[in-house]
C-alpha cells in the first residue's frame, strides 16, 4: 500500500521563500497555523511580520489582544530573541494610503469615503481590492532599513481560504480586468514579479478529511495553472494512531478480539464491568474507522507532490501557549 508521497519537511526551496501565504479551507485552523509558522520563522533572532487581509481580527483574538488598527506593530517576542509584528490590512485604508501617496488626495479621500465610493471601488472591482492588498504586502517584503537590511526577514500572510486564494494572488488577471495603464498597473507589475518568484510560497493547511483534502488538491492545480508556487501542505490536528497497524483493518470492520482485550485489562489489574469493556471496544472500532479514513485521505494527498508537515493535535485546545508549542514543532521539522 505504498503511494508516492511528497517530500517531508521544509525543503531547500521553501527556505528561499521570504513571503509566505497560508491558505486552507474554513475550519482547518489556517489562522492558527499562520501564526505558529510566523513564530517559528521568527525564532532565533529574526523579525517577522504576520499579516491578515480579511478584516476578521483573527490575530488579535488568537493572541488575546485588543483589536488592531491599520498599521504595523509589535505583537509578541519569539523564541530565542526573535520578534513577531502584526499588520491588520484593510483594503479601504490601503486605497486611501495609496491616494495620499501618489496623488496627495487626502481631501478627496474623505469625500470618496463619505460617498461610499471606496466601498464601491473595493468591493465592486474585487481585483482592485486584491491589487491594493498584495501591493501593500509587497511593500512590507521589500522595505529596507537604513543599514540596507530588510525590515522583515519574513512576511507571513493569513490568506483568503482555498476557494479564493488563487484569485487573490493572481494579480495579472485581476489587473487586466481593471486597468490598461496608469500608476496602479506599474505598481502591480512589481507585485506580479514577486508573487511568481522563488521568494514566495503558498502553503496549504488541511485536515485528513474529504472536503479539505479535495480543496487542497484543487488549489494546488489552480496555482500551478496560474504559475504560482504551492509550498508545504501543513496537515493540522493529526491525532496519533494507537492500534497496532495489523489490527486496524479488522477493528474498522467491527472485529476486535474482545477476549484478548479483557485478559490484557486483567493483566494490568483492571477488573472492568462488561458494559465498560463494550464501551472500550466501541471506542476502538470508531478509532480504527477514523484511522482508516485518514490513511486513505493521506494517500489521496499524495496526488499533489508537495512537501508535507504534520502538526499534532493540541489536546488542551488553542491558546497563546499552544501557538508556541506548534512553532517549536515546526522548527523541529526544519522550518527556518
Amino acid at each position: 500500500m505504498t503511494t508516492p508521497l511528497g517530500a517531508s519537511g521544509w525543503t531547500k526551496e521553501l527556505r528561499r521563500a521570504r513571503l509566505h501565504f497560508v491558505t486552507g479551507k474554513g475550519g482547518t485552523g489556517k489562522t492558527t497555523v499562520a501564526a505558529s509558522l510566523a513564530l517559528a520563522l521568527a525564532s532565533g533572532g529574526r523579525r517577522v511580520l504576520l499579516v491578515e487581509v480579511e478584516g476578521r481580527q483573527g490575530i488579535a483574538q488568537l493572541f488575546d489582544t485588543e483589536p488592531m488598527p491599520y498599521g504595523e506593530r509589535h505583537l509578541v517576542s519569539a523564541p530565542d530573541g526573535g520578534e513577531l509584528c502584526a499588520l491588520h490590512l484593510d483594503a479601504e485604508a490601503a486605497l486611501l494610503e495609496y491616494f495620499e501617496m501618489f496623488y496627495n488626495l487626502g481631501f478627496a479621500g474623505r469625500t470618496l469615503r463619505r460617498m461610499g465610493a471606496i466601498e464601491f471601488a473595493t468591493t465592486l472591482a474585487p481585483g482592485l481590492r486584491d491589487v491594493l492588498l498584495t501591493g501593500k504586502i509587497k511593500e512590507c517584503v521589500t522595505r529596507r532599513e537604513s543599514d540596507g537590511r530588510h525590515s522583515y526577514d519574513h512576511v507571513v500572510v493569513d490568506s483568503p481560504p482555498t476557494g479564493r486564494v488563487v484569485k487573490f494572488l493572481d494579480v495579472t488577471r485581476a489587473l487586466s480586468d481593471i486597468t490598461k495603464s496608469g500608476p496602479i498597473r506599474g505598481q502591480a507589475e512589481g507585485v506580479v514579479k514577486l508573487l511568481h518568484s522563488p521568494e514566495t510560497a503558498v502553503h496549504l493547511v488541511t485536515l485528513l478529511e474529504e472536503m479539505p483534502i479535495r480543496e487542497t488538491l484543487e488549489a494546488v492545480d489552480d496555482m500551478v495553472d496560474a504559475k504560482l508556487r504551492p509550498g508545504a501542505v501543513l496537515i493540522n490536528r493529526v491525532r496519533p494512531p494507537r492500534l497496532p497497524a495489523r489490527s486496524v483493518t479488522a477493528a474498522a470492520d467491527g472485529r476486535v478480539n474482545t477476549s484478548r482485550v479483557r485478559s490484557g485489562m486483567e493483566a494490568a489489574g483492571l477488573d472492568l464491568a462488561p458494559e465498560v469493556l463494550d464501551g472500550l471496544v466501541d471506542e476502538t472500532v470508531e478509532h480504527a474507522i477514523r484511522v482508516t479514513a485518514e490513511r486513505s485521505a493521506m494517500e489521496q494527498l499524495g496526488e499533489a507532490n508537495q512537501p508535507r508537515i504534520e502538526i499534532q493535535d493540541v489536546t488542551e485546545g488553542i491558546d497563546v501557549a499552544a501557538l508556541y508549542e506548534i512553532a517549536d514543532l515546526l522548527v523541529e521539522k526544519g522550518v527556518r
Binding site: G26, A108, L112, M115
Partner: protein, 380 residues
C-alpha cells in the same frame, strides 16, 4: 455549572408552523450535512421537505442523488427509501440563480443586454457576497413556490458566520451607493440642487476613481446599474425583502458549531447578532462531539497502559487504553468549551451531536445523524 437547555429538534421540525430552518455557522463545521440530515428526518416524519444545499461534499451529494447543479429541487428517490412525507434536494447554482432573477424581472430584450454586459460577468461571479445573496434569492423563490411545507437551508461556506447576514447588505450598499446613483442619473443629481463644493468633490472623486480603476469600468457599471435598477427593482429593496422573510414567524435559525474555540467564537458572535436583529434563534447544534463511551478515568487508563507496556504484553489492551485516554482528554476539552459557551449564552438551547467516525456517504448515515440531532440514539 450552568447547564444548557435541551434543544428539541423533533418539536421544531414537526411543528407545522415551522416553514424555514436556516442552518448557519462558520466554515467546516458540518452545516451541509446537518441540513441534509434534518431534512431527511423531517421527511421521514411526514413533512414535504426540501433542502437547499450550497456546496455539498461529493459523497453527500451522491447520497442525495445530486450529481450536478440542478438549481431546481429534485425529489430524492432511492430503492427502499419510502419516507412518510417527501424529500427534495437541490444544489445552489449561483450563476443560474442570478441569470434567472434577471430574466424573470426584465423585458426580453433588456435581459439579453444585461446578461451580455461584461460588468454583469464580474458581479455574478466574483463579487464578494454574491453567493450569500443568491442563496437568499433562491430561498425566496422556494418560499414563493409554496410547494413545500418545510424548507431547510444550508448557508455558504464563509469564513465568518456573519457574512451570510451582512453580504446581501454589503452588495446592495455598493450597488445602491450614492456615487452609483449620481453616476447613473446625473439629471436627478443636478435636480437636488447640490452645492458647488459637493459637485467639485464629486468631480475629483470620479476622476480619482477612474484614474485608478479605469474609466471603462465606471461606464460599464453605470450602464449596468441603470438597466438593472429599472428591471429588478434594485438590490436594496430585494435585500430588505430577504431580511423580512428571515424575520417572519415561520423561520428558525440553528447555529451549527464544532466544539472548537474558533467555531464557538463565531457562534457566539452569531447568537449576539441574531438577537440584535430580532431574528429567531432556535439553538446551537454542537456538532461532532466525542463523548466517552466507557466509564474509566483517563489517568487510570494511562497508568494501566504504561504498566502493560513496561511488561511488554497485552499490546492490544494497552492500545485500547491509550486511545480511550485520548478520547477522555478530547471529551473534556469539548465539554469545557461548550460549558464556556453556555455560561456566556445561558438562554441558548443546545444539542450535542456525536461525530460519526467517517464522512456520511448514504441515507443510512444521514438517518443516524438525524437521530443524534433529535437527542435519541446518541452514543451512551
Amino acid at each position: 455549572m450552568v447547564r444548557a437547555k435541551h434543544l428539541d429538534i423533533d418539536t421544531l421540525i414537526d411543528n407545522p408552523k415551522t416553514k424555514v430552518v436556516v442552518c448557519c455557522g462558520s466554515g467546516g463545521v458540518g452545516k451541509t450535512t446537518t441540513a441534509a440530515a434534518l431534512a431527511l428526518r423531517a421527511a421521514e416524519r411526514g413533512r414535504t421537505t426540501v433542502v437547499l444545499t450550497i456546496d455539498p461534499a461529493r459523497r453527500l451529494a451522491q447520497a442525495l442523488g445530486l450529481e450536478e447543479l440542478g438549481n431546481v429541487p429534485k425529489r430524492v428517490e432511492l430503492d427502499g427509501f419510502e419516507p412518510a412525507g417527501e424529500l427534495w434536494a437541490m444544489m445552489l447554482d449561483m450563476r443560474r440563480t442570478f441569470d434567472d432573477m434577471i430574466i424573470a424581472h426584465s423585458e426580453p430584450g433588456r435581459a439579453d443586454e444585461l446578461l451580455a454586459s461584461p460588468f454583469y460577468q464580474t458581479v455574478s461571479t466574483s463579487f464578494s457576497g454574491t453567493q450569500e445573496y443568491m442563496a437568499m434569492e433562491k430561498l425566496g423563490q422556494l418560499v414563493a413556490d409554496g410547494e413545500w411545507d418545510l424548507i431547510i437551508v444550508d448557508t455558504p461556506p464563509s469564513r465568518s458566520a456573519l457574512d451570510f447576514l451582512d453580504a446581501p447588505k454589503r452588495l446592495s450598499n455598493a450597488l445602491d451607493s450614492r456615487l452609483i446613483k449620481l453616476l447613473t442619473s446625473p439629471a436627478r443629481a443636478s435636480g437636488w440642487g447640490v452645492r458647488k463644493a459637493f459637485t467639485a468633490g464629486l468631480a475629483m472623486a470620479t476622476k480619482a476613481i477612474s484614474t485608478v480603476i479605469g474609466g471603462q469600468l465606471l461606464t460599464d457599471a453605470s450602464a449596468f446599474m441603470q438597466a438593472f435598477n429599472s428591471t429588478a427593482g434594485g438590490f436594496k429593496e430585494r435585500a430588505t425583502k430577504t431580511a423580512e422573510l428571515l424575520r417572519s414567524p415561520g423561520t428558525s435559525f440553528l447555529v451549527v458549531a464544532a466544539p472548537e474555540s474558533d467555531a464557538l467564537r463565531e457562534a457566539s458572535y452569531f447568537v449576539e447578532r441574531l438577537s440584535e436583529e430580532s431574528m429567531p434563534l432556535q439553538g446551537l447544534v454542537a456538532n461532532r462531539t466525542h463523548p466517552v463511551l466507557a466509564e474509566l478515568p483517563g489517568t487510570k487508563a494511562l497508568a494501566a497502559a504504561e504498566s502493560l507496556e513496561r511488561d511488554g504484553n497485552g499490546q492490544l489492551a494497552a492500545a485500547v487504553l491509550r486511545l480511550h485516554a485520548d478520547r477522555v482528554a478530547l471529551d473534556q476539552r469539548e465539554q469545557r468549551l461548550l460549558a464556556r459557551f453556555t455560561r456566556a449564552h445561558p438562554g441558548v438551547p443546545m444539542v450535542k451531536v456525536p461525530a460519526l467516525p467517517s464522512d456520511v456517504s448514504d441515507i443510512a448515515g444521514l438517518r443516524v445523524i438525524g437521530e443524534r440531532l433529535s437527542g435519541n440514539g446518541a452514543a451512551r
